[in-house]
């Protein structure tokens, strides 16, 4: 093996030797998206660890702020972009709050990537229907960007995204641009519009009237607040999509991220290692899933 490969392998082993140990990462960019959500770009400091860090869309990292704690956060950037990751974080409590008070250049800890992501390879050659509610766009954003970077390998790509209000629309600027592209069919809706809003109004499920789905060659991907799944799945099923072509990403309380701490149980599975992305066929049979 060449020396670089050996070094990388060593770094990789180090990475996995103690999965509880966070690796220092520097915040290299901070973009405020809304009042509560901010996009953080992070770079692992150690070159070899950074090179060894490979992930899939839908996977998450544990963000670690020593003295405060850890929080699982989905990676929002695409695996096709290497050397950094983006996290879209809502200020929801201790760790996420502490992260929001950090500045560019500050160091935080990262562990991961953990969990099962979306079956990107399997999705290739198909249409994709992505449905996000609120912060659920965070993991889907990674998938969307990844698809974007390999756009020619996919059929029709439809994105349905519901937010509470126009101020809460995440990645608004980017989506605004995308609305005018014809390789992405993007629909935004808000529950409570204001005078600036010229898009749809109502629940994300209302948008289904506008989409045409070829159930045999479409994959669905859903992420949003707990109440949303049932209704969105029902719409997809109504369009004739099979349960095993729908993927859902779940949020649960998590401490370790790799199947030990027991917090993220969903039925007989753990959201951290068996998910967070579940095939709906599996999820259907999980107690407490939806």
């Amino acid at each position: 093996m060449n020396p670089t490969a050996v070094r990388r392998l060593a770094a990789y082993e180090q990475l996995s030797a103690n999965p509880y140990r966070p690796w220092p990462a520097r915040i290299t960019s901070i973009t405020e998206l809304t009042d509560k959500e901010t996009l953080f770009e992070l770079r692992l400091i150690d070159d070899d660890v950074r090179d060894a860090f490979k992930f899939e869309s839908g996977q998450f990292v544990e963000v670690s702020i020593f003295g405060v704690g850890e929080a699982p956060i989905s990676i929002s950037s695409a695996p096709s972009k290497q050397g950094f990751i983006e996290l879209c974080v809502r200020n929801a409590g201790d760790v996420t709050g502490a992260l929001h008070s950090r500045q560019c250049g500050d160091i935080v800890g990262l562990r991961g990537p953990f969990g099962r992501g979306f079956p990107f390879e399997e999705m290739k050659g198909n249409d994709v229907l992505l449905v996000a509610g609120g912060l659920g766009i965070a993991p889907l954003k990674s998938l969307i960007n990844h698809i974007h970077d390999t756009r020619h390998e996919f059929g029709k790509v439809t994105i349905l995204y519901g937010s509470r209000s126009p101020e809460e629309v995440l990645f608004a600027r980017q989506f605004d641009m995308w609305r005018h592209r014809d390789d992405f069919d993007l629909h935004l809706t808000v529950d409570q519009p204001d005078e600036t809003w010229d898009g749809d109004v109502g629940l994300v499920t209302n948008l289904f009237e506008r989409v045409d789905v070829d159930p045999a060659k479409t994959f669905g991907a859903i992420c949003g607040p707990p109440v949303m799944y049932k209704y969105v799945v029902a719409e997809m099923r109504a369009k004739g999509m099979e349960a095993d072509r729908i993927y859902v990403s779940f949020e649960r309380r998590m401490k370790c991220g790799f199947g030990k701490c027991g917090h993220c149980g969903v039925g007989h599975q753990y959201a951290c290692i068996d998910g967070p992305v579940f095939n709906y066929w599996e999820a259907m049979n999980l107690q407490e899933a939806m």
Partner: protein
């Protein structure tokens, strides 16, 4: 650095004494804050402005009420320490019966002189919003420091929600109910490491009733274990007399 004041209402100062009882760390803690006023330990006047107010003691006078309102306007963070401040504690025992009778009992006919401005005892939270709670009678110095750091960092309050029994098992104590004795651990906030129980005394509930206590079930347990239900109910009042829902 956070500018901190320490205030005492009606109490025995035990919690403030506990704050000094971490000899090894006192100076470290003081290094992490700017202590602006602490009547017990330093001369000086209460400053106009400060960030964190640490309040010990129950509210028992109109003056306390006024003071707390001012404190709430000034401080961004209020920490209530000790049972007196958090649940009304032992001072709230004076809630049962008639205040005038009580004053008469202690001060005789001259009672009116001293009772002036005296009101029924209340926890601090009955007057103002409290951001952080350090429970116990007295508080545990280490727990105090932990909460202080949480407060300085702006983390959320983290009083355990569950009752005592898990810690009691971790300490490998034999349950008092196995001997037919009443223990308030069934419903009392965890977090003290079951100090009393490990030293052979049943929990008297000084940390207050746990947010997630199942009091109804506890009563059934006491009866089933052949222990004294009246005693459970009375003991539950000892530090929780300001609550009306425990019977």
């Amino acid at each position: 650095m956070a500018r901190v004041v320490v205030l005492g209402l009606a109490s025995d100062f035990g919690c403030q004494v506990q704050m000094t009882n971490m000899e090894d760390h006192l100076l470290d803690v003081l290094g992490a804050i700017e202590l602006e006023y602490w009547q017990l330990a330093a001369s000086g006047h209460m400053p106009e402005d400060y960030d964190v107010a640490i309040v010990e003691g129950a509210v028992t006078t109109e003056e306390h009420v006024e003071l707390l309102k001012r404190v709430r306007e000034t401080a961004s963070t209020v920490i209530a320490i000790g049972s007196c401040a958090v649940t009304g504690g032992i001072p709230a025992l004076a809630l049962s019966g008639d205040l005038e009778d009580r004053v008469g009992c202690v001060y005789g006919e001259s009672g009116a002189l001293v009772a002036c401005g005296r009101i029924l005892p209340m926890p601090v939270g009955a007057i103002i919003d409290v951001d952080y709670h350090v429970v116990g009678c007295p508080i545990d110095p280490a727990e105090f420091v932990e909460v202080l750091h949480r407060a300085i960092q702006g983390l959320r309050d983290a009083v355990p929600l569950e009752p005592m029994c898990a810690t009691c098992k971790i300490a490998e104590n034999t349950c008092f109910y196995d001997r037919g004795e009443v223990c308030l651990g069934l419903v009392t906030r965890a977090g003290c490491g079951t100090k009393c129980i490990s030293l052979g005394r049943p929990c008297t509930g000084c940390r207050g009733i746990a947010a997630d206590a199942n009091f109804e079930s506890a009563k059934a347990i006491v009866e089933r274990m052949g222990a004294d239900l009246d005693l459970l109910l009375e003991r539950a009042q000892l530090y929780n007399n300001a609550r009306k829902d425990l019977s």
